[in-house]
Symmetry: C2
Subunit: 205 residues, 2 copies
């Protein structure tokens, strides 16, 4: 292989290692070699060690598949998690729904150990805060939430996204759209918090 001047290959090697780490499968030196078509192991090793020298990677010498991202660097918190995307969520069926997801969406590892799931938004009731029908919300599963947080709640067998308001002795679920009315529920109301919205995604393509 001819020489590749501008350190272009080096950057690609880093990107390759990064992707493999995100997939949870750290590469071997020889896997890097083969991916780039090097005819010598040392070619790959040279790039990898150079990346270690400049601080872009760290490694434990001698260990197999030992290259890692430096602590504190983005993406170093671990591999990407896959969050289950649920279709319809109905009464009590959250656990079942998670067993049989419609698909999986990748999420960075910065969200701690909390269980996550994803739902598609229906209706215009939250359009005032930029949550539109068809948007995907990523939800941290929890039974309770604090005043002002945007939550997914199960109201009469239907999952809905609303802003939670805790008023003296009762729970209110506020839409963010003047065309909709708040849902006001008494203390013994038939409402159940499924989780808190932590991210909103909208696909345009």
């Amino acid at each position: 292989m001819a020489r590749n001047p501008q350190g272009h290959t080096r950057r690609d090697v880093l990107a390759f290692v990064r992707e493999r780490l995100a997939a949870g499968a750290p590469p071997t030196v020889r896997e890097v070699q083969e991916h780039f078509g090097f005819r010598a192991v040392q070619s790959a090793r040279q790039h990898l060690e150079a990346l270690v020298a400049e601080g872009a990677l760290v490694k434990a010498p001698g260990r197999a598949r030992g290259y890692r991202l430096p602590p504190g660097s983005p993406g170093a918190a671990g591999p990407v998690r896959l969050v289950p995307r649920l279709g319809r969520v109905q009464a009590g069926a959250l656990s079942e729904a998670i067993e049989d997801p419609d698909g999986w969406v990748p999420m960075d590892g910065l969200t701690g150990e909390h269980e996550l799931f994803a739902l598609t938004v229906r209706g215009e009731s939250m359009s005032g805060v930029g949550i539109l029908p068809g948007d995907l919300v990523i939800v941290r599963r929890q039974d309770t939430a604090r005043d002002g947080e945007i939550v997914v709640a199960l109201v009469r067998d239907d999952a809905t996204v609303k802003r939670l308001r805790l008023r003296a002795g009762r729970i209110e679920l506020h839409p963010e759209n003047p065309a909709f009315a708040p849902i006001v529920l008494g203390p013994a109301a038939e409402v159940r918090i499924l989780g808190r919205v932590v991210e909103i995604r909208r696909r345009l393509a």
Copy 2:
């Protein structure tokens, strides 16, 4: 080590492997051995292979650190791409900016072979379509775009998100907020399309 009847150890082995995989560091058979204090490699291997047999793990035979979670199981990483998150993008500096990203965000593999990058939205000019300041937009890099698409364009050394309108002989960049005025540019205008917005993400937590 005495025999541990109820398959209790097996479950712990699975938990250990899971933990290591979540940390991005698949364990070797001997690391499992040492963690549980087995005095023989085979003891660890037996548990691991049993977990493979019952479908709780998968592995590529012969490969070092080859145990993985089965595809489709929660926490298993799929074909995920990492998209570079750029800070400021200025004139002609897109390539350079991609060389030195602020971080990486995971994206599912359904976006084809197109080059992608991510930008943080500044300003309220697109709030009418639910794109708010602070949102992350994921952009497919391309030099041209069609009428009506939401694009990232470089106008006078500044990257901006707008809706593209192609009018007889001229290019218009329309905000989606009545408080802002469209940018109207002649045929020889100093505008450059950087790409088309394919996804919008907003982190709440």
